[in-house]
Structures are given as structure tokens and as C-alpha cells.
Point group: C2
Chain length 154, copies 2
């Protein structure tokens, strides 16, 4: 289904999808946030084909979302850790989790409980960093900073 | 690359990806948030093949993210509007936009400027709904509510 690259579009959502939009990628990142670092652990937890996992990890390394570190010489063994760029994906992950908890969890309820260090279950909400009000599409105006390029879909 | 369904996984991130993880889908939702409603307008703005767009729109209608309304009888013409479930994807979209602005915009800077009704450019941040502190992976503990099923990767 992939026919084009989103990276060329002058849109931050499209370019983000270029990095994390590939099938399985966001679940690899989810595992990284829960502390998984080694190939076999990713593989075991995701039940993903090894070649697909290797491609996803390599792509995330290429994009600077994960860094690969060799933790054992003989035989060579690597682990993968989130970079700052990768850790910055936390709001994307949590926004997906929050939506999924509300709209897809069904009668069984959310499978995961998050507890914030303040001691309470947080509902993660998106707020304006200036006034602190909850962000809602109707209160936010979006304007192009530059005219769109001819081939730009964004 | 799609080999399985994420819907079966007991994980709200995976189930969210089942709805919005298909290539192009999040850009269709982006357009819907910017007010696009008609097939030809989605098509023109995204430069997407018509059959792919039709499949994406149908999938979003099937998942209850968009609703289809006939606005003209002869010839029959439909428009697509975000439902409440769809509007609830705003934090996911904005989280992607924020990350892309920071990490993918390059020297030209972000292509879009958001202005909140408070009059300022908001940086969208994710906060704990209880204490208001910015959410950070290190301050949040995730626990399974139920034991994972055998085939569960989540």
C-alpha cells in the first residue's frame, strides 16, 4: 500500500508517519518504553517475524529513534535504547493508549493501569503550555507559515 | 507487511493502530480536522489514488471514526465528518505534529503555526489530569490489570 514517501511532504504529521507509521513500528517503541532492549526479547514479546523486526529496528536506528549498543563481544550482542528523540515519542504513545482505552477496550476495560508518581491514575490530557487549558480542535487555529509547494499534500 | 491483526492483542496501543495504523489513514484524519469533508477534496489535497482513499474512508466509517452523510440526492453525493470517536483522535494528531515539528522540520522550521484561543502559540504538552505535571515515562508506572493471554503480545 505504500506508494510514496511522506518525508517529502511539508507536514510534521506526515514526516512523523514516515518514521513511526510502518506497521509494527509503534509496538516496537511501546516495548522499548517498557524496558525491552534485546532483539530476542522484542521478538518474544511481539511474536513478530525476525526479518521484519530486524528491518524495523534498523529503520528506527537510522532515524535516530533508537541507538544500538554492543553489550557483549563474543558472540557480539547488541541492545537497543531509546534516544532523546525516541523518548520524545512518549506523548504519541500515551495519546494512542488513552484513545484505545476509551474506544477499543470493550467490556473487559483497559488492560494496563498507569500510575503517575503523584500517586494517582492519570488521565493523560493535552493542554496548552501557555494557559493550561485542555486543547480542543475547535479552540486551535492552524495557519501555514509558508505557501504550500506544488507537490505538497500537507 | 501486514501479517496479523492488532485488534486481537490485548493492548490499547495495538488496537488503536488497528484503526489508524494503515498507511494514509492519519493523513485522512488530519484533513478531516482541517475541515475537509468531500471525497474529491480529500483526493485533491492528499494526491492519493482514488481506490486507496475509498478504502481508507470506508474503514474509518466502519470503525466509527467518520460518519458518511449524503448531502445531495441527484447525483448522490456524500460527505464525511468526524464522529466523537474521531474528534477524540485530536491528541494523537497533535502529539505527532509536536514531535514532527521538533524532530523532522529541519532548518525551514515547522510548516504550520497553531494558535490557541488564549492568543498564544501553544506547545501541546501531555499532563497528568490529577496533579497537572507534565507526563514523563520515568514518572509513570504501567501495570497489567489482567494476566496476558497466551497469544497476547501486549
Amino acid at each position: 500500500m505504500r506508494r510514496t514517501s511522506f518525508a517529502e511532504m511539508e507536514c510534521s504529521v506526515a514526516r512523523t508517519l514516515e518514521v513511526i507509521g510502518e506497521w509494527w513500528t509503534m509496538l516496537v517503541i511501546r516495548e522499548a518504553f517498557s524496558g525491552v532492549r534485546r532483539f530476542d526479547d522484542f521478538q518474544g514479546r511481539l511474536g513478530i517475524a525476525r526479518n521484519v523486526l530486524a528491518a524495523r529496528l534498523q529503520s528506527l536506528v537510522d532515524h535516530g529513534v533508537l541507538e544500538r549498543r554492543q553489550y557483549h563481544d563474543r558472540p557480539p550482542r547488541c541492545e537497543y535504547r531509546l534516544t532523546e528523540k525516541g523518548r520524545d515519542l512518549y506523548p504519541v504513545l500515551i495519546a494512542m493508549l488513552t484513545w484505545g482505552d476509551k474506544w477499543t477496550a470493550g467490556e473487559a476495560g483497559p488492560p494496563l493501569r498507569l500510575t503517575h508518581e503523584c500517586g494517582h491514575d492519570p488521565e493523560a490530557i493535552l493542554v496548552c503550555s501557555h494557559c493550561g487549558a485542555k486543547l480542543d480542535a475547535r479552540q486551535v487555529r492552524a495557519e501555514r507559515v509558508r505557501p504550500a509547494a506544488a507537490a505538497d499534500a500537507g
